[in-house]
Symmetry: C2
Subunit: 183 residues, 2 copies
């Protein structure tokens, strides 16, 4: 999932407000629809991967998935089924003075403050204009991102269409040895 | 949790084999006991944090916790209760050619191959010689680490005794806004 992402136009306590944007730049000429509500419980979802961006971002990410997304990853099934949601929790990438003291040199980086959280929500009909994924971006204070940001999401993810528009790969775990020590 | 860590001496299919090491270098003169079995299900545990080490390591980590550990983090309760387990999944920290193409410059880093997985298991009696935590290290092929590695774990974690020997801090999530958009 890219750090450059989308905007949410409206947020309500109760649910989802669909925003109909302009049709310009859309793959199939339809108006894009964006996700406007933070999926509940995302902080407790299972790990997909981690990420680190430099350039203008200096960001550290944890990429998590809901159960539908995780199941699809494990089964290596594409496209992701409707209902799959992927979350990217972004923090600043900062040097850890505390850890460096222990190591005796500058080598350790940890998450700084939360910068934003982004989501991809799969609904092949609702979000057909953007590859079947609805995009979301929330700033650190919980407010949705601005329109300029929202417009950059899908064009970037199109580069990874072969993996159903999803950049993050599922990180492996330990192999099971003959001695059965892994489980 | 540090990348420099501990050794497991023996692993069986059935369970835990306690290793009694030498007493040298231990805080209270007791022999250290180490964890020798990979805690089941760790890949699905909840996120504590992420980490990145340079120097000789070039490692990328996801730090996960079992439910007991996560509850203690959320309640900011120290020391961690018995039964808490923290896992550090380590991968090499590699440049992503795929992502860099999309960005148009070299800025993106992703997890490379798995390098090792480490655990801290809290049992204040069993692991009393090492601050109440049993340490574990498993290589990428599932085999336990060597003795030299095992001996470096606790001395390093002693530096963070004030947080019950645990380096990783629990990363925050989005704030709830007045509009109630976060949940």
């Amino acid at each position: 999932m890219r750090q450059i992402a989308l905007l949410l136009i409206a947020v309500t306590a109760a649910g989802i407000v669909a925003y109909k944007g302009t049709a310009s730049g859309q793959a199939d000429g339809q108006a894009p629809v964006f996700v406007t509500r933070i999926p509940p419980g995302y902080r407790d979802w299972k790990l997909i991967s981690v990420a680190h961006e430099e350039g203008d971002l200096h960001s550290f990410a944890a990429v998590l998935g809901n159960d539908i997304a995780i199941k699809a990853y494990r089964e290596a099934k594409l496209p992701f089924p409707d209902g799959a949601i992927i979350a990217a929790l972004h923090y600043s990438h900062v040097s850890s003075e505390e850890n460096n003291k222990v190591f005796g040199r500058d080598q350790s980086f940890v998450p700084g403050p939360l910068t934003n959280v982004q989501f991809m929500v799969k609904d092949s009909r609702k979000y057909s204009a953007t590859g079947g994924w609805g995009y979301a971006h929330f700033n650190k204070d919980g407010t949705p991102g601005d329109e300029a940001r929202l417009k950059t999401c899908f064009p970037c993810h199109q580069a990874i269409k072969a993996r159903d528009y999803v950049f993050a790969r599922y990180v492996p775990e330990l192999r099971v040895t003959a001695e059965g020590n892994t489980r």
